[in-house]
């Protein structure tokens, strides 16, 4: 048999919710991290840190 597993096209549609929730989740976490980084940059920029990028 060429395809040894069950081919279930309907599963693509059924699992689209994982795509939506997953991408939303990644964007939210990354958004929080980006926001926090902006906050860290603004809090620490006036301090006399020696090493700078």
């Amino acid at each position: 048999m060429l395809i040894p597993m069950d081919f279930q096209p309907i599963h693509f549609v059924e699992n689209l919710r994982y795509m939506g929730i997953g991408m939303l989740g990644v964007f939210i976490v990354i958004g929080v991290i980006a926001g926090l980084t902006i906050l860290l940059n603004s809090i620490t920029k006036d301090k006399n840190d020696d090493e700078r990028a």
Binding site: M5, M19, G22, V26, G31, T37, L40, K47, A53
Partner: protein, 368 residues
């Protein structure tokens, strides 16, 4: 006399096919310089484990060293996590910390993972589909950890696909980028302004990321934590010797064992199956859709921005560090020799490293 050729009778054509595959991996490593530190051990290992009655892997009660290494370092996810300390110590988050909004491209370029999850679920059960989809993380350690935690039946093929495609980023990405962008878009110049980043930010960043990732996606905290621990060693400024060891000695040692141990999963009877071909195909689709996700996200942003972005930088959001950043930089130079996108592309590239681990955590949250 019979003892000299007795084992030859155990040879079958599948083993010879695996030798050829091993040969191709070694060729790509040496001649094409594609991820040689991984493809060469994998290629040699593929030959080693496909010799008839190879003593390198277990047969019945007789334990082989590669099987022992597999259980000691990959089945329990130790090697990939140790490697992450080295990778964390190698990464300079400076360009990203300087332009935090670049992180969004890293998030967009994880699209391939979730698209492939849906696609793979048409053929495999959800745990296997999720493990296959994570090939799109373009990050070997993440693929191994997710595949192991989800108890995938296809861990060998997944590891081979993940590492091979990472090496093939310079071949896979350019045609997709060109297909989705016009020459004019590829010539867009982006000004790079390096804002100062304080040492305090550099130290607090890995700690904060670990806490955030741990709170939102607890299953990913080992991955994120080890990556960020490596970065903290680098940035703290008082552990230069440890940082250097993590970047070189630790990373090299783990890589040696990782490559050849992965090969223990490339035994012909497990590897030469239709499923493996399908997994390789799905992995390729994951990489393509990651690239497309990043580029199209940049194009969508351009609809609203006055100062246009070069949409190619979106492609650097896949985790394959530092290859995809370099690919974008080279493509930009090819279109216009005065267009330097290296810093922006590197920033996006390291954000992809973080985003891919978070995507892995999301997958684990769904299915663990």
């Amino acid at each position: 006399m019979e003892i000299l050729y007795q084992n030859l009778l155990n040879l079958d054509w599948k083993m010879i096919v695996m030798w050829l595959i091993g040969g191709v991996l070694i060729y790509l490593a040496i001649k094409k310089d594609m991820e040689p530190s991984l493809l060469l051990p994998m290629g040699f290992g593929a030959i080693l484990v496909n010799l008839p009655l190879s003593g390198a892997v277990s047969h019945g009660a007789e334990e082989g060293p590669l099987t022992i290494l597999y259980h000691a370092g990959i089945a329990n996810e130790l090697f990939p996590l140790l490697l992450f300390i080295g990778i964390g110590a190698m990464i300079d988050f400076g360009p990203l910390l300087s332009n935090p909004l670049l992180m969004l491209f890293g998030a967009a370029a994880q699209f391939g993972i979730f698209f492939t999850l849906c696609l793979a679920s048409m053929f495999f059960d959800l745990n296997d589909a999720a493990s296959i989809a994570i090939i799109g993380a373009a990050d070997g350690p993440t693929s191994i950890v997710v595949g192991q935690k989800l108890n995938s039946n296809y861990i060998g093929a997944i590891m081979v696909a993940a590492y091979s495609y990472m090496a093939l980023v310079p071949i896979i990405q350019p045609p997709i980028i060109k297909l989705l962008t016009s020459k004019k878009e590829r010539q867009i110049k982006m000004e790079y302004t390096q804002r100062p980043v304080s040492k305090t930010t550099r130290i607090l960043f890995p700690i904060c990321i670990t806490i955030i990732a741990g709170l939102i996606a607890p299953a990913s905290v080992a991955l994120v934590g080890f990556l960020m621990f490596g970065n903290l060693i680098r940035e703290c400024g008082v552990l230069d010797s440890l940082s250097e060891t993590a970047q070189k000695v630790l990373a090299n040692l783990v890589t040696i064992f990782l490559g050849i141990t992965i090969a223990s999963q490339m035994q012909a009877e497990n590897f030469l199956k239709f499923d493996t071909l399908l997994i390789l195909g799905l992995g390729l689709i994951a990489f393509i859709m990651d690239t497309a996700g990043g580029v199209l996200f940049a194009k969508i942003l351009n609809l609203f921005l006055k100062k246009k972005l070069n949409p190619m930088i979106g492609a650097a959001g896949i985790s394959a560090f530092p290859m995809s950043g370099r690919v974008v930089h080279k493509l930009a130079l090819k279109e216009d020799p005065t267009n330097f996108l290296l810093m922006q592309a590197t920033g996006v590239n390291v954000s992809g490293q973080i985003a891919s681990v978070i995507a892995g955590g999301m997958i684990l949250n769904f299915f663990l």
